[in-house]
């Protein structure tokens, strides 16, 4: 399979602490990269540096062989990022937020109805997001992943605030995404049973 995402000799300092050093990985289409480690071991920082939000001390990330620093725009077009915070405005409704999303990156609102139905949030479309529970807001963040046609999903602790049904839903969505030649990098505490090839990075 073609190698989609790779990191060479990555290292990152946070204040006095050295989070990781000399880290290398290569991820091809259809694979999941699982980043595990205790709290504060730099999982989020690693994901943010893959996305390009945080600068690395040394090393670089490349997408399809091209360093992301050189061609930021085409890499950003291929990435969708899910962080601890939902990334949507609390005062706006679900639809208004997703419509704004189509201005930011290439996303289609065409199949929005079944996406919302599948996520179980179709009846919440008129409510401002701040009225939704944390679990429902997490599902709205998942909606961002589904409407966008980016190939790389970056997910930071996607299972937080989700009930059992929600967590299995996340696993299914990732498997479907990987089946369509996508790639996913995920930071998670819990162990994951998923029927796709998984690479692991253990951070201290």
């Amino acid at each position: 399979m073609a190698e989609l995402l790779s990191g060479t000799d990555l290292s990152l300092l946070r204040g006095e602490r050295c989070l990781f050093e000399g880290l290398n990985f290569a991820l091809s289409a259809g694979e999941l990269l699982l980043v595990q480690g205790p709290n504060g071991s730099g999982k989020t920082c690693l994901l943010r540096s893959i996305a390009g939000l945080t600068g690395l001390e040394t090393g670089y990330i490349s997408w399809q062989g091209v360093p992301t620093e050189r061609d930021r725009q085409s890499f950003s077009a291929e990435v969708v990022w899910m962080a601890h915070r939902v990334g949507f405005k609390g005062d706006l409704t679900l639809i208004e937020n997703l419509r704004f999303e189509t201005g930011l990156r290439s996303a289609t609102l065409g199949g929005i109805d079944e996406i919302l139905a599948r996520l179980g949030i179709s009846r919440l479309t008129e409510l401002p997001l701040r009225c939704l529970s944390a679990g429902q807001q997490r599902r709205v963040a998942l909606a961002r992943m589904l409407i966008s046609d980016a190939r790389l999903w970056l997910m930071d602790e996607p299972f937080t605030n989700l009930d059992a049904a929600g967590q299995t839903l996340v696993v299914d969505l990732i498997s479907e995404h990987l089946a369509k030649d996508g790639a996913c990098v995920m930071a998670a505490h819990r162990e994951l049973e998923i029927s796709v090839p998984v690479q692991r990075i253990q951070l201290q």
């Binding site: 300092l13 204040g15 006095e16 600068g55």
Partner: protein, 250 residues
């Protein structure tokens, strides 16, 4: 030439090299300033209009000149630091700011002391130079305040570099608008544009003082840059070896 610059840019080399250069700059500065002060105070002829008060020019003009020089050094090194991601350049910008603020304050203070006998007031809004210096002082305070508010040095370096560049673009505009603003009041400025007519005997001490102050600025800047470099390289091996020579042998 390029190899020298490259060598200079690597922190350990810079650290040792600057230690050797600073004494030369300090001695040179002392010599020029000594000559300039003595010649300026006692040997230069008094100005026919202002009498001996004009001798303050020998500290006021170099201080104002240094305040500009410091900001230029800050903006240029900030630009280099941002574009080529050189830690040393950010260290120079971080070191130049307090010096620039000190000399801007000095220029303001000597300017208003000079103004007291001339205009009868400590502060004359009509003089565009004083007003521009005051705004420059605020720019320095803004720069240092931003740098102080960010804990992570790398982030503070780059954020303040953006501010220094934005400030640098605005300084000529500020000078121009203050000039225009003061010309609205009373036509040409009270003090003749070039200041008192400068005869050669008055000019040499002034040149000496400007060169002396520039050397002084270079010495002080290098001294401060050394500490900034030491702080930024605090985790490296060469700093460990430098600061703990005794433990190295065990």
């Amino acid at each position: 030439m390029w190899k020298f610059l490259h060598k200079l840019a690597s922190p350990p080399h810079f650290y040792d090299l600057s230690a050797k250069i600073i004494p030369w700059f300090s001695v040179g500065a002392l010599a020029f300033i000594a000559y300039g002060t003595i010649a300026g105070l006692f040997f230069a002829p008094a100005d026919y209009q202002q009498g001996d008060a004009f001798r303050i020019i020998y500290v006021h003009v170099p201080a104002a000149y240094l305040s500009m020089l410091a900001y230029t050094a800050m903006a240029v090194s900030a630009g280099i630091g941002l574009i080529w991601r050189m830690k040393l350049a950010h260290a120079v910008a971080a070191a130049a700011a307090p010096l620039g603020a000190w000399f801007t304050f000095l220029a303001l203070a000597t300017g208003s002391i000079w103004g007291r006998p001339m205009w009868g007031t400590w502060w004359e809004w009509g003089d565009p130079r004083l007003t521009s210096e005051l705004i420059m002082l605020f720019l320095y305070f803004g720069y240092m305040a931003l740098r102080g508010a960010i804990d992570d040095t790398a982030k503070a370096d780059r954020a303040s570099a953006v501010l220094a560049l934005v400030g640098a673009v605005n300084i000529p505009i500020i000078h121009f608008s203050v000039e225009w603003w003061s010309s609205l009041h009373q036509g040409p400025t009270l003090v003749r544009e070039g200041g008192p007519a400068i005869v050669p005997a008055m000019m040499y001490p002034l040149l000496a003082m400007i060169i002396g102050f520039s050397l002084l600025f270079a010495a002080l800047l290098l001294a401060r840059v050394r500490s900034e470099v030491l702080y930024r390289e605090r985790r490296t091996h060469w700093v460990r070896k430098l600061l703990m020579p005794s433990e190295e042998s065990t």
